[in-house]
Amino acid sequence: MIASVIFSVLLIGGFGWFTMNILKIRSNILRGRDLNRNDQPKERWKTMALVALGQKKMFARPIPALLHLGIYVAFVITQVELIEIITDGITGSHRIFMPALGSFYTFIISIIEILSVAALIATIGFLSRRNILKLARFHKPEMKGFPTFDANMILCMELLLVTCIFTMNGADEALYLQGASHASPEAGSFGFAISSWIGPHLFGGFRVETLHILERIGWWGHWIMVLTFLNYLPYSKHFHILLAFPNTYYSNLEKKGKFTNMEAVTNEVKLMLDPNAEPFTAAPATEGAPQRFGAKDVTDLTWKNLMDAYTCTECGRCTSSCPANITGKKLSPRKIMMDTRDRMVELGDARRKNGQEYEDGKFLLGDYISEEEVWACTSCNACVQECPVNIDPLSIIIDLRRYLVMEESKMPSELAGMLTNIENNGAPWQFSPADRGKWIYED
């Protein structure tokens, strides 16, 4: 009875806190500018099915893809067991679905056990890649401190979760063999794929009382880990396990080379080119306060850019394929995403505390991302191509450039010259437009 109450309090508290954090993240994402990504629903579902559910882009690198698949499938299937844990926890029953499901129950739990072993192997593999093999992409400057801790923390939680599952099932199996399991009054075996071996071999020599305690440690440990994991997610890069789905649904479905058209500029340019227009009396093209050209802070980015930032799991495939980063420049597309998220969290917290109009005097551009990074991009789309969850760092970089150039006229001096040439000569170099056809007559 007391156990059921404690369980239910943890359940409500855990899910309540999680919901509150989800709403915070949602409100942060909605601080971004509008963007319509509701067209072509069929294509969007397809993209989500292939990229998020099917992990299509992960398989560009087969080894981590297989390890990741192990954890992913185990994680999804293990949720089935959670249904029983929650039901048992609230009602005080023990393996409530076992009698009704019979051999199907054995089958499901066996599958979960086999996948848990796969997840265990994969987790050890991932920990080794980060901490023993020290793969370069996990040790870039932006990974110092919390990001590295965060990644290891998640992997350790996974180890703990799997340990709990096997302690629970293994101890219960040992009890069952002695006829002392709460699942059945008689002696027997659950016949689960892994714990039918673990039970007698690891827990065989224990006394019944000890086994009951061990089984409970495994069961409660599992439940507490689930809640801890759930509530750690919103603070972690691991949030991708949820956002990967909406983020791929709202993918950019246009060709990667197509940069967004700035409507506000189109209206201005049309006025300038229209001989009949009277620019001084023309009504303003947009209602309300004029928006900044480009982006100086996270609120100037679109909600999709901000969702991208929360979806980023800091794998660094973008950075490891970025020509600027490969050749030692400061730009790292992963850092662009991490900075965007960090700034969004900072601004969101400040505004929840001090009111929605509050300005803290800080900006994404300058306080987080430097001009040097922004100008090192070749717009090659390698980062966009590589991202396993369809994040687009390039569009943020371009919006930061737009702000620098159009609001502050700040750019490398050679680019200023190039732009002047285009404006005066219709070419990025200083050639006379009249000479454009000269090549036809040259030898």
Binding site: K255, K270, P323, G426
Partner: protein, 263 residues
């Protein structure tokens, strides 16, 4: 080498004619001495196949690509709107260009500003010409048995998913197409895109074009084929950086085809 025949849209219009396709030459193709050779190679192919084409000549202007990538949307849209006025004035329906940056901008970024055209890259047009039998390459051509590697221009490949047309052309040369370790979707940029062509690079430990030329040299190819005038410049400079000019040539796919067809 035969003399080339290049009518302008204005000339054709004066004669009451309408070309089937506009050849958008681009700034590089018009002004850069190296790129002009690519332009002429393509023209010789068009002439050989009796393609009814025209250029804009002095009426052409920068598409605005480098301005847009540099963040100057005003300059980009001014260029785009002026070009669209000219193109729509001539009722242009179809455009071919040898520059992936022009290709991308005309194809993807002009429609929202009122410019709707069918835009193809020159490698796609040449592939069509060969497939339809209008262009034939000479047997046992100059490239027979040579190793050729293709450098994917970002604005052709990743940006627009065109990977096969240039490769199909190289295979028609009877040459051995060897891929670099980073190719197609994982191809490494030459370092020129995003307006980098027009500025010094930021502080780092290597130039991007040197890194990329390293990939090409590893393949032991004797020719680096490209489909972009900027990539061409960057790769040519990269080869010079390694002092390998005598061992490896940088050529546009149009130049390869023009020499294989003995044009």
């Amino acid at each position: 080498m035969s003399t080339i025949h290049v009518p302008t849209m204005a000339e054709m219009m004066a004669q009451g004619q309408n070309p089937d396709i506009l050849f958008w030459v681009g700034c590089s193709g018009s002004f850069d001495d190296r790129a002009k050779k690519i332009t002429k190679a393509l023209v010789r192919i068009l002439n050989e196949c009796k393609v009814n084409f025209a250029v804009l000549g002095a009426e052409e202007s920068c598409t605005g690509d480098p301005a847009k990538r540099a963040g100057n949307e005003f300059t980009f849209q001014m260029q785009a709107m002026m070009n669209i006025q000219v193109l729509n004035g001539y009722k242009v329906k179809k455009i071919v260009t040898a520059c992936p940056h022009c290709f991308n901008t005309l194809k993807n970024e002009y429609p929202e500003l009122g410019g709707n055209y069918e835009v193809i890259h020159h490698t796609q047009l040449i592939q069509e010409l060969i497939n339809s039998g209008k262009l034939s390459l000479k047997d046992g051509g100059v490239f027979k048995g040579k190793k050729i590697t293709f450098h994917d221009p970002c604005y052709l490949g990743r940006a627009n998913d065109v990977y096969e047309a240039p490769r199909a052309l190289i295979e028609k040369l009877d040459a051995e197409l060897v891929e670099m370790k980073r190719c197609k979707t994982t191809g490494l940029c030459c370092g020129a895109g995003g307006a980098q062509m027009f500025k010094e690079s930021e502080k780092g430990n290597k130039e991007v074009n040197v890194e990329r030329t390293g990939d090409a040299l590893e393949t032991q190819a004797s020719i680096i084929a490209t489909g972009c005038p900027f990539c061409n410049t960057m790769m040519t400079d990269g080869v010079k950086n390694f002092n390998k000019e005598s061992e490896i040539q940088v050529l546009d796919v149009a130049e390869l085809i023009a020499s294989a067809a003995e044009l």
